[in-house]
Amino acid sequence: MNKPVLRTENLKAFYVLDVHGDQTVVKAVNGVNLHIRENEVYGIAGESGCGKSTLLKTLYGAIEPPLRLMGGKVYYRVVDEELDASRLSAEDKRYLRWEFISYVPQGSMSVHNPVLKLKETFHDFISAHLSGKTREEAFEIAKAWLVELGLPTKILDAYPHQLSGGMKQRVTIALAALLKPKVIICDEPTTALDVVVQRGVVQLLKSIQRELQNSIVLVTHDMGIHANVADRIAIMYAGVIVEEAPAATVFGSPQHPYTRYLINSLPRFGDKSARESAPGNPPLLSNLPGGCPFHPRCPYVLEICKREMPETVALNQNHKAACWLVVEREDGKTP
């Protein structure tokens, strides 16, 4: 099996907020173990406020107050050597960014400097990595890359307002992949785009992955997008990963009750049978229920669910779930 290119160990990152003397701790990432393999699209699904964007920030090492790393480690596998991301010097980080790991934050398409042409903005970002190359050479590389991905090269000479949202998003993603990073992290790249444009973005992600054979970590709440691109999918709920499996397994035989609700509530064409949402509301990350965070909404809740957080159990090599129902069933199997 592939060695993980990006790995986390019991990662915890909390927001510590202080509003007029009242301290609030938002447990956005609350013990996450990820193994992202080489050459895969790894999808992370979850609803707003489940901590998925914070998880990405932590993976990228973009931790700024009030966000604090409370425990656990992030490891990057750079040239067969595993590095602890929290111990990297600022210079190493700068070097690894764009060349080893790129990050496309949510809504990044609207953060371009409005008075600079896209290529200038872009040049500012990557200039640190282009020592020994002139500006013109750098632009040639960028142009060749856009051609390879089937995007028009004239967009480099355009100002941000001249492009549609979908085009900006695609340029942002394409340029994030320019230095052929091993890992590309995309936060909600298709949100707020029209369906036809979404499809274009997905198409682009696929062709980048095919071209570079690298790993893409894709966060979105849209299960349809996951079904379409992800090789493996992690389901995140209230700061923890509750289930992880290959896409076909997640959609075919989900184990965690939350995943089941998520999958079964999706409307499908040609099937008008009634769909039910999970009851209740997602918990506040600043005020988590004890035990399994899903227990107040879970129809199969057991006594133990209210007291203890279940361990993550491997159902098979690729399928993991964190649920007492699964734990009990698996225990029953092996006497």
């Binding site: 509003v19 007029h20 609030t24």
Partner: protein, 283 residues
């Protein structure tokens, strides 16, 4: 009382509140003054500050402590008249122009723009010269109120314009809420901090302008204000004659008043800022 407790955590509020209280106390003391402030020769002339005459006396034979009490009181009265009245104009014009929009809005904003671009100071000076004979606290307040609203009307209008596009405006309309209630119930909570901070800023502006007009001799010199006090001191060449206390008293009082008003406005508007208020409501 939670409001005061929260406010007292801000040192700027504590300082400005203390200074203002002291100045107010001074102003209230004027009610118990043993002398008529307009009369000359009620005290020995040109005495340095002492226990008997705290701020000293001037060459007109007036006790400067009591003069200062009247000056602070009268300056504050002018400032309150002018600032409150101009707030009323600014709020009305800003809200109507913002919510109604269309032709009404364009006309109102045209007037406000006219007031913004004309050389305000020269016109105020000219008008002050015209009404000089009948100049008292109220007419001066009215005069300054008429010229102090245009910029704030514009600010309020732009806030209303953005609030109008928020979803709750539509919810209120669908709830059958009429225009007046809509503005009062939905927009006022957002606009109040703005009105409040511009009120205080406007008071500072009025006090400053009064000093300037007095300096030019365009107000009734018999009424003690911070401006006339300074003007008398200068016309009697207090500096040259070494009566420093005569000139220092109005200057120090003005500076204290400005600092207090400024910090008060900053700390209160920070406290009332809707963004931090929403956080507090949510906590």
């Amino acid at each position: 009382m939670k409001v005061l407790k929260d406010l007292f955590e801000d040192y700027r509020f504590v300082v400005s509140f203390t200074i203002l209280c002291a100045l107010l106390l001074l102003a209230i003391l004027s009610l118990f003054s043993p002398h008529d402030p307009t009369l000359w020769g009620t005290a020995p002339r040109d005495i340095k500050p002492s226990w008997e005459h705290l701020f000293g006396t001037n060459s007109k034979g007036q006790d400067l402590f009591w003069q200062a009490a009247f000056a602070v009181r009268n300056s504050l009265i002018i400032a309150l008249i002018a600032a409150s009245l101009s707030r009323v104009i600014a709020v009305l014009v800003g809200m109507v122009a913002g919510y109604k929009g269309g032709m009404t809005g364009t006309v109102l904003m045209f007037f406000s723009d006219v007031f913004l671009v004309i050389p305000l100071f020269l016109i105020i000076v000219m008008l002050a010269m015209l009404v000089r004979e009948r100049m008292n606290l109220v007419t001066l307040g009215l005069l300054l109120a008429a010229f102090g609203w245009s910029w704030d009307a514009r600010v309020i209008r732009s806030q209303i314009l953005s609030l109008r596009e928020r979803g709750f405006t539509q919810t209120a309309v669908l709830s059958g809420t009429g225009t007046v209630r809509l503005v009062l119930n939905e927009y006022m909570p957002f606009t109040t901090p703005l009105i409040f901070s511009t009120l205080i800023n406007n008071m500072a502006w009025v006090i400053g302008l009064e000093i300037t007009l007095a300096f030019l001799g365009l107000v009734n010199m018999d009424i003690p204000t911070l401006g006339t006090m300074l003007q008398w001191a200068i016309s009697y060449q207090a500096i040259l004659l070494g009566y420093w206390w005569w000139i220092v008293t109005p200057i120090v009082l003005s500076v204290l008043l400005f600092v207090a008003l400024y910090w008060l406005s900053v700390s209160i508007s920070e406290y009332l800022d809707p963004r931090t208020r929403i956080q507090r409501v949510g906590a």
